[in-house]
């Protein structure tokens, strides 16, 4: 078995999700290769050689990849995948976007968002917003898989000594191109890789109170900010803050849920967190059923008190 993992990076740094996907690859077994494809991303590939358990880093540098869409990325991966038994990427906004194109062009069923490797051909994945887990066996010759990063412990950043192989691969179908990019202020840690997440729900009541109460707390804890779908739908914050089955899946060391009732779809996005704290005025809120520490009270008093006590 030889496994190709597609790295996620910003041309400067490898994103943390990649090390979790490598762990899933190692659970399958066999030789693991890592593809670093991008624009001027040699430094990423060089750093990736040290990752534990990687035998080979494939480097593709192509200027078209910077602004190209899923069509281009899928064609590139497709041109490299034929010698492999498994193709893995993170179930991130990026992996979800291009991976199904590769699967369709290989005429292979894709396994989305796996949380467990049961055997090299058998995997478990959540369905119905995580209410149920399905164990599925694939009979395809190449297994095409996206991985829920938080379900696997990351491999070590050091200890490996992979060989580096440059590959010439160009593809630009010209079907789509990026015309505008608006990235959020990145002074906070990324939601999906933060050690601490402070998350707010409809209980906050307004966009102003969301930021006035939660930002100081997140600052003290060097935490990422998240939100429930209800808070997003109410317009308190934008959708990329959303934690849940239809948003981001997180598993930090500490997750603090403020004014979040705990709908199934939200729990699906955070219940793998190591320690969960819930602050809510309703003692019967479902969030308390998954919280390690629940505090029943008025968030307008409790949150500032907590912030100043830290």
């Amino acid at each position: 078995m030889t496994i190709l993992v597609v790295a996620e990076h910003d041309n400067q740094h490898l994103k943390a999700a990649t090390r979790h996907v490598l762990a899933a690859a190692q659970a399958i077994g066999g030789e693991v290769h890592l593809l670093v494809a991008g624009q001027h991303c040699a430094a990423v590939a060089e750093a990736a050689r040290a990752l534990s358990g990687v035998a080979c880093v494939l480097l593709v540098e192509n200027d078209a990849l910077e602004s190209a869409g899923a069509e281009c990325m899928a064609d590139l991966v497709l041109s490299l995948v034929h010698d492999y038994t498994h193709l893995l990427a993170a179930a991130s906004a990026s992996g979800k976007n291009w991976m199904p194109r590769v699967a369709a062009l290989l005429d292979v069923a894709q396994l989305s968002d796996i949380v467990r490797v049961d055997a090299p051909d058998t995997f478990t994945r959540p369905i119905y917003a995580g209410s149920v887990w399905a164990t599925v066996r694939s009979e395809d010759t190449i297994k095409v898989i996206t991985v829920r990063a938080t379900a696997f412990e990351a491999v070590a950043e050091t200890g490996g000594s992979a060989r580096l192989q440059k590959v010439d691969a160009t593809s630009d179908a010209g079907l789509s191109r990026r015309t505008h990019l608006a990235l959020n202020d990145s002074s906070r840690p990324e939601l999906e890789s933060a050690r601490v997440v402070v998350s707010g729900g409809r209980g906050l009541g307004s966009a102003e109170r969301f930021s006035a109460l939660l930002e100081p707390l997140a600052d003290k804890l060097n935490a990422a900010l998240g939100a429930s779908r209800a808070a997003v739908d109410s317009g308190y914050v934008s959708n990329d803050y959303q934690v849940g089955q239809t948003g981001k899946i997180v598993a930090p060391d500490l997750y603090i849920a403020v004014g979040i009732s705990g709908a199934i779809q939200h729990l699906a996005g955070m219940k793998a967190s190591r320690v969960i704290v819930a602050i809510n005025k309703d003692p019967d809120a479902p969030i308390f059923a998954v919280a390690d520490y629940g505090l029943v009270g008025d968030l307008n008093q409790v949150v500032p008190e907590l912030t100043s006590a830290l």
Partner: protein, 249 residues
């Protein structure tokens, strides 16, 4: 411009899914089924484009059992002009659905297919991308804004850490995210009118598509349960627990 909108019949989003006692699947019998919420958003996007005069005809398609007729009638009541059911009792994987849709696209020649980004039953998030790939078309997934031109569409989409706007060549596949719009409800007069709109029924064999799955579902089960913890009385006790018991701060 013709638009095609695939709609899926799924367990209603308000109902918690449970495994069957023998673990062979999810219990669906006797439970309320509805149109996949992301497909409702796709329908709404198509209807608004038609209301704006940019779209001439909306064709709703569903692949599945005979009961999917009900979902298609909902789509017709919302504003689709006609509907096609590809009827089969096979459990369909996204790849099989994409292959069926491809044949229908070649027959109907739409300039745009708008899909929900994922179905809330299998949570696969694959069909739209697979259809685009099989057709050799551009795609814009997770759309939060669509501006339709003649040869191109400008689509704003949600990516990790922000938003990007893509210019995609038509024909294309767009998949919808939550923020795109808020779907309308079907009115009673429109529900009555929908009963008279055309609904064609085909089979996968009619379309020449083999829908046999190469995935075998071995079992479904409840996920590992998380134990609830304790209630603390105040902030001081909470901090003490986080520092000395959980050791996370």
């Amino acid at each position: 411009m013709k638009v095609l909108v695939p709609v899926k019949r799924v367990l209603d989003y308000n109902i918690k899914a449970r495994p069957k006692a023998d673990g062979s699947g999810v219990e669906l019998s006797g439970l309320k089924m509805s149109m996949n919420p992301f497909d409702e958003i796709a329908m709404e996007a198509a209807i608004r484009l038609k209301e704006a005069g940019q779209v001439s005809e909306i064709i709703a398609i569903s692949c599945g059992t005979q009961a999917c007729q009900e979902t298609l009638r909902t789509a017709l009541a919302l504003g689709a002009d006609r509907a096609v059911l590809v009827e089969t009792d096979e459990a369909l994987q996204p790849l099989a659905v994409a292959k069926l849709l491809k044949v229908l696209v070649l027959r109907e020649q739409p300039r745009l297919v708008i899909c929900g980004k994922q179905a809330i039953d299998d949570d696969a998030n694959q069909t739209g991308q697979m259809l685009a790939a099989l057709l050799g078309w551009a795609q814009a997934t997770f759309a939060s804004r669509i501006e339709l031109g003649t040869d191109h569409a400008s689509v704003t989409r949600e990516i990790d850490g922000g938003l990007e706007t893509l210019s995609i060549t038509l024909p294309a596949v767009i998949t919808t995210d939550l923020r795109l719009n808020e779907p309308r409800y079907a009115t009673l007069p429109n529900i009555m009118k929908a009963k008279k709109k055309p609904l064609e029924t085909l089979t996968p064999a009619d379309l020449g598509v083999d829908v046999t799955s190469r995935l075998t579902l071995l079992k479904v089960a409840e996920p590992p349960a998380r134990q609830g913890g304790i209630k603390v009385n105040d902030v001081a006790e909470l901090l003490d627990k986080l520092k000395n018991e959980a050791k996370v701060i």
